[in-house]
Symmetry: C2
Subunit: 113 residues, 2 copies
DNA sequence: CATACGATTGAACGATTGTTCAATCGTAAT
DNA sequence: ATTACGATTGAACAATCGTTCAATCGTATG
């Protein structure tokens, strides 16, 4: 025989640790937006410099349109901020936490499998 | 007139900062797996205790099958580890970086919009 | 004003996603 | 051996995703 196991108490304990649906949903959205390679590349590129939409497109080999669509998402989730300069729209990171996420995510990704 | 802008140099600079496709892809996978509310809840629940598949299902109100599918993904990406005990499969977090990601992600998510 | 350039928009498309469902496997207990 | 329980699997489905394409907007420059 192995150690006894009570489903009841485990479930009750685990349930207590969960944040509200709203918080979980918001966290998931944040991670999800970083979960696409092109969007992630955009964010990484912006850790160095402010860039206009076209430069991002050229840097990543994406269409201007695709970049614009993604920037709108990134802005909506407060990862990216934008300012206008003439006919350019310059994008930059909006939040200092983002670079932390990138750093840790990269560490996990490049660890020995 | 505003400040002059050279696309050429901005693109060249930005390109240098980008990790390889392989690294970016792996990072994106890591974020993506945390980008689903149910999967994220599973991971959060496991920060506290080791849990069997059924307990996770009961805690989150998911079917056993759905949980099992997601655990396989989490295991493949090395977020979750599993050990057997009798007929139970106990899951726990596989990597200490994960909790850091959760903490920072939560901070960003709960910041004032 | 007309032109060019950078940016945005919305519809449409194929591709991917997460779940359900039913069937099956494995282990422990009777 | 049979039963019960926990876990896994694969097919199938609706839903969501990210891109392309064409059209349009805005602003600076000729």
């Amino acid at each position: 025989m192995t150690s006894p196991h009570s489903h009841r108490t485990s479930v009750a304990t685990a349930k207590r640790t969960l944040p509200s649906d709203q918080v979980v949903g918001s966290m998931a959205e944040t991670f999800k937006v970083l979960g696409d390679p092109n969007r992630l590349r955009i964010v990484i590129a912006l850790t160095q410099t402010e860039l206009c939409t076209l430069d991002i497109a050229r840097t990543l080999g994406m269409s201007e349109s695709a970049v614009s669509h993604q920037l709108r998402l990134l802005k909506a989730l407060r990862l990216v901020r934008q300012r206008k300069e003439g006919k350019l729209v310059l994008s930059s990171l909006d939040d200092e936490h983002i670079e932390d996420l990138l750093r840790i995510g990269r560490r996990h990704a490049t660890e020995a499998a």
